[in-house]
């Protein structure tokens, strides 16, 4: 074991840079995916049947195929389409499809949106009928009931499942290393492995980084659950 290699300034910088990229990918995809998931969940529980089927089909496909295929499809696959090829040199949103970071981010966001939408839709459906009836009795409209009563409670009840999804997403960002020119934590480890031929040290260091990040996220969610779901906890006295 030659741990000194990992702690050489250059390699530490490589890992440091990797951590920044990984966290960026994680939080950006969670933000974009979260907004999409909210819209999808509302459509899934909404009154328009065609939209319900459409979003249902979307989550079915996203949840039934590996993320790696989705990343490949967006990064390699879309470039084959002539429609994109004609645009990605100059026309505004399409120029981003040449950038690996954007492609990875898009794939991760669409992926997490599919999973989160189903969780949130489940929580919305399970809101107890009494709460909704009470809101109607107060004269709230459908939108008001959704906004003031159902969503705040459904989003809180999704928290335990969502914390799993966030940790899964952290692990999923390691797939960014399958895209060339991405330097996340896993790619940093692979590069150190390739340079020094030290697989144990390189990948164990990466594993330790992910483990620490996972524990921090889990700790954060435990804390938030204690605060936001306190009213659902069993009585202690």
């Amino acid at each position: 074991m030659e741990w000194s290699v990992i702690f050489a300034p250059d390699n530490l910088a490589l890992f440091g840079n990797g951590i920044v990229i990984t966290l960026w990918l994680l939080f950006a995809s969670l933000a974009v995916g979260g907004v999409l998931a909210l819209i999808f969940a509302l459509l899934l529980t909404g009154p328009w049947a065609p939209l319900r089927w459409l979003v249902g089909a979307y989550t079915f496909v996203i949840r039934g195929t590996p993320l790696l295929i989705q990343v490949y499809l967006i990064y390699y696959g879309l470039g084959q389409l002539e429609w994109i090829q004609a645009r990605w040199d100059a026309v505004w949103p399409w120029v981003y499809f040449k950038e690996p970071f954007f492609c990875a981010l898009l794939a991760f966001s669409l992926n997490t949106a599919g999973y989160t939408a189903e969780m949130l839709a489940g929580a919305i459906r399970e809101t107890s009928a009494g709460e909704i009836e009470a809101a109607h009795a107060y004269g709230m409209s459908r939108v008001q009931t959704m906004w003031r009563v159902v969503l705040p409670s459904a989003m809180r009840r999704t928290l335990p499942a969502y914390s799993n999804e966030v940790v899964m997403m952290l692990h999923a960002t390691s797939l960014a290393s399958a895209v060339p020119n991405m330097l996340d934590v896993t790619s940093a480890a692979s590069r150190i492995y390739a340079t020094y031929y030290l697989p144990f040290e390189a990948y164990l260091a990466a594993a330790a980084i992910y483990l620490t990040a996972s524990f921090c996220l889990i700790g954060f969610f435990r804390f938030s659950e204690g605060r936001l779901l306190a009213y659902l906890a069993p009585r202690k006295h």
Partner: protein, 228 residues
Amino acid sequence: MQSYFWVILHGSLLTVGVSLLALLVSVLFGLAGAAAKLSGKPVLVGLATLYSTIIRGIPDLVLMLLVFYGGTIGINTLLEKMGSEATVDIDPFMAGVLTIGFIYGAYMTETFRGAILSIPKGQMEAAWAFGMSRFQTFIRITLPQMVRYALPGFTNNWLVLIKATALVSLIGLQEMTYLAKQASAATRSPFIFFMFTGALFLIYTSVSLFVLKKINARYSMGTKRGQL
């Protein structure tokens, strides 16, 4: 062009093989882990907790690379120290099966532990009162009843496991994701090949879901469900 589709279709057999073998390994690890966690012996409980916590905190891909690249060097160094001239190459198939099995064993541990805890304690006590050994109790009483409680979690784990097999392509196993990538590099039409592979995965997960639903219906026969 057409022959590539056949090659990928053929590669799907390897995907099925890897996933089923990995499932077998993960069930064994899961049962061992659950048994250790419920044994009440501090050392075993500690080891099992360490296993399920650490494995679930590290990405599959990193563990796979660690086992595949690290394992090869580790075994060869060991052989060298033992004075052997032979060198061993870890086969991506075995590395994939063992790593995926080992990782999902950690998830299965939690699923099985929860399932065993859901069985009323009186069932096991009755079996002991009949003079059955621990093993007999497990096979005759606990196992058939825990299937029902374990199936929802098991279904989830299985679906995630199927999708994890795509990662084995990154350590060079020629399953369908790997072949799709090769085909797209050769023909410069990645879109169609990745769509095809994605569709195959979708079929695989849908069929599994359908079969597991049937099994679930069979094992929940006669259970009363509360009516709201």
